[in-house]
Amino acid sequence: MAFAPSDEPVALKILVAGGFGVGKTTLVGAISEIRPLRTEEVLSDRGVGVDDLDGVETKTTTTVAMDFGRITIREGLVVYLFGTPGQERFWFMWDELSYGALGAVVLADTRRLTDCFPSIDYFEQRGTPFIVAVNCFDGAERYEPDDVRIALDLDPDLPVLLCDVRRRASAKVVLVTLVEHALKTLTATQR
């Protein structure tokens, strides 16, 4: 174990959040090697009495698929992408996912802008650096990033950009914008 700490492998975590159908899975697939990953969802039988003194509560688990991708920057430096499951019943996973996260991309669809409110609230409260990327669907009316910023009541220095998550080049710009924002946040707090 002769490695100096700086030689140790580094793993970073970026989250992709937003409402159902906004393009989270598409974004992760456009930019990274997408990998199958499943987690358990516990469906505990709460209705069947509170008598769990013996610790043998009746629990059923189902597995749910998560969006998971990895980008190898170089040997020993890997960025992991995780899609945050949109539905409310998956809130339990958010704390775990966002712990130690470098930052989050909140995807928005201008036809259903309010869908991204829960994600924005969540990352604001947790202090996780995030950006808003408006996924431009065909046929959806185009808005300027500043209109979206106003509609979502976002901070003036919070990056808002338009993107097409199906395109790798566009997905790349989204991630670069996030990491640049995280870097700015980091240097601001260190000052």
């Binding site: 358990e40 712990y99 130690g100």
Partner: protein, 122 residues
């Protein structure tokens, strides 16, 4: 022994996860972060019989450091099951776990710049 003997991609694990982890509800691996990095310590198991085929596979993957999420994905097992298997390996002193906070309390500006350049070059 390849993983194909144990796992069936379409049908999911042939061995029921519950059986894999002895039906336990709690384990020392429960809180392992998704991107905690796992590395083998180089120690040998006291008894090969203590190690399940899945754990042997984990030890192979962790010989070159792997994350919890990567291991779960490579083994095609759900995260909860993998956490239990890893907790046992850790209890036996066979793997070392570095949680992200220890790996990078706050990633340094140098690392972030490297990531930005790396992403641009993709």
């Amino acid at each position: 022994m390849t993983r194909k003997e144990w796992l069936d991609d379409d049908a999911g694990p042939v061995v029921r996860p519950f059986a894999l982890i002895g039906g336990r509800a709690r384990s020392s691996g429960d809180d392992l972060d998704l991107i905690a990095l796992i590395t083998t310590t180089g120690a040998n198991p006291r008894d090969r019989a203590d190690i399940s085929p899945e754990q042997a596979h984990i030890l192979e993957l962790a010989a070159e450091t792997s994350s919890v999420a990567d291991i779960a994905s490579d083994l095609n097992l759900a995260l909860g099951v993998v956490r239990v298997l890893l907790g046992d390996l850790q209890d036996q002193g066979l793997v070392r776990v570095r949680p992200p906070a220890q790996v990078a309390p706050l990633p340094s500006a140098r690392i972030l710049k490297e990531v930005i350049n790396g992403l641009r070059a993709l």
